[in-house]
């Protein structure tokens, strides 16, 4: 399990879960055409890329 702690590091995944002291947003951002997204800030947060497992 890699932990990124440097400023500017990024995470890209289908599903990310987080634990944060405080959040702001999310606010809606309009991209091109039908592409829409949400953006926000997590303060003092840790985030994990979710993984689906089975026995």
């Amino acid at each position: 399990m890699t932990t990124l702690i440097d400023e500017g590091d990024g995470i890209i995944a289908k599903r990310i879960v987080y634990v944060a002291r405080k959040t702001s947003g999310p606010r809606l951002i309009m991209k091109s055409g039908r592409h829409r997204g949400l953006e926000g800030i997590l303060y003092d947060a840790e985030a994990y890329i979710d993984v689906a497992v089975e026995k």
Partner: protein
């Protein structure tokens, strides 16, 4: 004078019974309707979101907003467990709930911290005690 007071008391009693019956009827309902008054600005913002196609209707937006608020207010108490106990709990969960499950769902169901859940699942994956789900979207 006395009769008037008595009459008043009886009338009050009848009204209270009727109110209780109404409350009981309300409790038996499956859905409830609420009317709210919004500012013009808020109304316009919702209208924009509905027109954008993000929500099917005003009611759809309001339902989602209420749902979000209620789930954000839900207080979750987490249990502190050691790594061995976490391993046992997660394996038990996967035996009892066959099929793919997200690590976050397991954490939520067992009341475990995300940190310990993800670390434990990583260890279980490395040891081959659990495997990554073929379909990475269990829902």
């Amino acid at each position: 004078m006395k009769m008037l007071i008595n009459h008043g008391t009886i009338w009050y009693q009848v009204r209270r019974d009727r109110n209780m019956a109404q409350k009981q009827k309300l409790l038996e309902r499956k859905t409830f309707q609420l009317a709210i008054r919004l500012s013009k600005a808020d109304y316009a913002k919702i209208q924009q979101l509905v027109e954008c196609g993000l929500y099917k209707s005003y009611a759809d937006f309001l339902r989602a907003a209420v749902h979000d608020k209620l789930s954000s207010m839900e207080l979750v108490s987490l249990t502190e467990v050691g790594p061995a106990e976490a391993e046992r709990m997660i394996e038990d969960y996967l035996v009892k709930h066959p099929g793919p499950a997200f690590a976050s769902e397991i954490a939520d169901a067992l009341g475990l911290e995300y940190k310990i859940t993800f670390k434990t699942i990583q260890k279980l994956l490395e040891e081959g005690r659990v495997k990554k789900a073929k379909n990475d979207n269990p829902h």
